[in-house]
């Protein structure tokens, strides 16, 4: 049972990143691999500032800023230097590995003191506290982000991924929209790093490895629900992505529960995503609504 609860909370921590992946891959049509790096950026900033006894609320904007900076870098390299977005993302991701390691000073920072966001006591039970704070952050993100997508700026973002030529014809510099969009996506990813570090109680230089795959798999599970329930409202779509993330983590927890060596966790993650990706080809489900 604990296993399942942990998987749900872990899924919620990841869901901000999944929403970021949804933005870059689905709305912008840009496969953004910066994710692996910016997730660790969020974790690094959180761990370092918490060990310096910063207030977890105060350091949150800094996490957001650091994540968006990483995304903006990828955006700049892609739009201004005309580098393929995958390569641009890989370049930034690999640079961030060094930067994160330099900032952390070692490969792992455990959080010894009880001054994280999840330690702020609202309920008696530790579990309820954790659930409350993580859910609150995710809820805030869904509300804020679905609002942004409904604004004129959000509309322009969605159209940029859909028909760039048209958006240029109405006088929008799509380069700027892409940079802003990637910044936003990676700010969301860094938020996941922020939550996860506090939930698991440490930051690790390798915690971001392959995380973009987790995001992609989660988004695709979410899209299955979006198709099944014929979801039109953007806020509900984002909720489905969160649901997809939780289900993904539960599926991984189950594989561990049936006694598979944790060493194979990444392998199973990849196989699981491969399975979801190939579902339409196998004729089991269609992603096109």
């Amino acid at each position: 049972m604990d296993f399942i609860v942990a998987a749900i909370l872990q899924g919620l921590c990841f869901s901000s990143m999944a929403i970021g992946v949804y933005l870059s891959m689905r709305i912008f049509n840009i496969p953004d691999i910066t994710t692996d790096g910016s997730y660790t950026v969020g974790a690094t900033v959180t761990a370092i500032l918490l060990t310096l006894n910063w207030n977890p609320f105060l350091l949150f904007p800094i996490v957001i800023f650091a994540g968006s900076l990483a995304g903006a870098m990828t955006g700049l390299i892609h739009t201004k230097l005309k580098v393929h977005p995958i390569l641009a993302g890989i370049l930034v991701m690999i640079s961030l590995y060094s930067i994160n390691l330099k900032i952390m000073g070692r490969s792992n920072i455990p959080l010894m003191n009880d001054n994280t966001l999840l330690d702020i006591s609202v309920f008696k039970s530790v579990l309820l506290n954790e659930t409350f704070w993580i859910s609150l952050v995710i809820l805030l993100i869904i509300v804020k982000f679905s609002y942004i997508l409904k604004t004129d700026f959000g509309l322009t973002m969605r159209a940029t991924g859909n028909n760039e030529k048209m958006i240029q014809a109405i006088g929008v510099r799509t380069d700027n929209i892409k940079i802003a969009g990637l910044a936003l996506a990676n700010a969301l990813t860094a938020t996941s790093g922020y939550l996860m570090t506090q939930y698991q109680g440490f930051a690790d230089i390798n915690m971001g490895v392959g995380i973009v795959i987790v995001g992609l798999g989660s988004v695709m599970i979410g899209e299955v629900f979006i198709v099944i329930f014929k979801v039109k409202l953007i806020s509900i779509k984002l909720l489905m992505v969160v649901l997809g993330t939780v289900i993904f983590q539960m599926a991984l927890a189950l594989t561990l529960m049936i006694g598979i060596d944790p060493v194979y966790l990444k392998l199973f993650t990849a196989l699981f995503v491969l399975l979801i990706v190939s579902l339409p080809k196998l004729g089991l489900i269609s992603f096109k609504s």
Partner: protein, 249 residues
């Protein structure tokens, strides 16, 4: 009013495959005139349209719209004055977005894009009313995705979107080339109606000589990047399709 002075445009400048697409062309189009550009493939008519739109910047020469010098302004800086309808309706609309969302984007052509929700009920109503004037029965489908419409319907909406907010120049790039004959006719009628009602200065590229005669105030025949023939208002009424056809030989 559009003024083109001594425009020359080269592709692959300085290379062995250099092409002179436009060759010292000068042209003045008065306010609210509907000009049709005809000419064989490679005669430079599409390039000329791109130069007015700012998608390409002329290698040499001056371009003014309503007296404002836009010779070096890229397309996103001209969009305040210039609006364009593409040959393929899929180029002019975002298929995954709804009709009303597409119209909201069109309305943003003259505006600064902000973090405000501009797509409110008042705007939806305005879109419904304007779409109703097209007589295509689309006014109750504004929340449907643009991609679910036929090419003709999308092109008709593209036209309405193009003239949604203030503009000085409307550019039509073979607007009916991708449509079946019936849809093409409807789209041209709608275009003409919108252009005349709003007195919009228009430049249209087309291969449909019938449309050129029927709708154009002035027909310009281009050849090798130059104006070969310029038929003014008084002449277009007496001209026959065969006369234009013979220019292509």
């Amino acid at each position: 009013m559009i003024q083109l002075q001594n425009i020359t445009h080269l592709f692959n400048k300085g290379q062995s495959n250099e092409v002179k697409a436009i060759n010292g062309l000068s042209l003045e189009i008065p306010e609210s005139e509907f000009v049709v550009l005809i000419g064989s493939n490679g005669s430079g008519k599409s390039t000329l349209l791109n130069l007015i739109a700012g998608t390409d910047i002329a290698t040499q020469g001056n371009l003014k719209i309503s007296g404002i010098d836009l010779s070096h302004a890229p397309n996103y800086k001209r969009s305040r004055w210039v609006s364009r309808v593409f040959q393929n309706p899929t180029d002019g609309t975002a298929a995954d977005l709804s009709i009303v969302e597409n119209f909201r984007l069109a309305a943003l052509r003259n505006q600064k894009i902000s973090l405000k929700i501009g797509l409110n009920q008042k705007f939806e109503q305005e879109v419904q009313e304007k779409i109703a004037t097209l007589g295509l029965g689309l006014e109750n489908k504004i929340h449907q995705s643009m991609g679910s419409l036929s090419g003709g319907q999308r092109q008709a909406l593209c036209l309405l979107m193009a003239v949604w907010s203030d503009l000085k120049v409307l550019l039509l790039d073979e607007p009916t080339a991708a449509l079946d004959p019936k849809s093409a006719e409807i789209v041209m009628q709608i275009a003409n109606q919108l252009i005349r009602e709003n007195n919009i200065t228009t430049v249209m590229v087309t291969h449909q000589l019938k449309d050129a005669i029927q709708y154009g105030d002035r027909i310009i025949h281009m050849q090798e990047g130059k104006i070969a023939h310029d038929f003014s208002k008084s002449k277009t009424s007496t001209i026959e399709i065969s006369d234009l056809y013979n220019l292509f030989s």
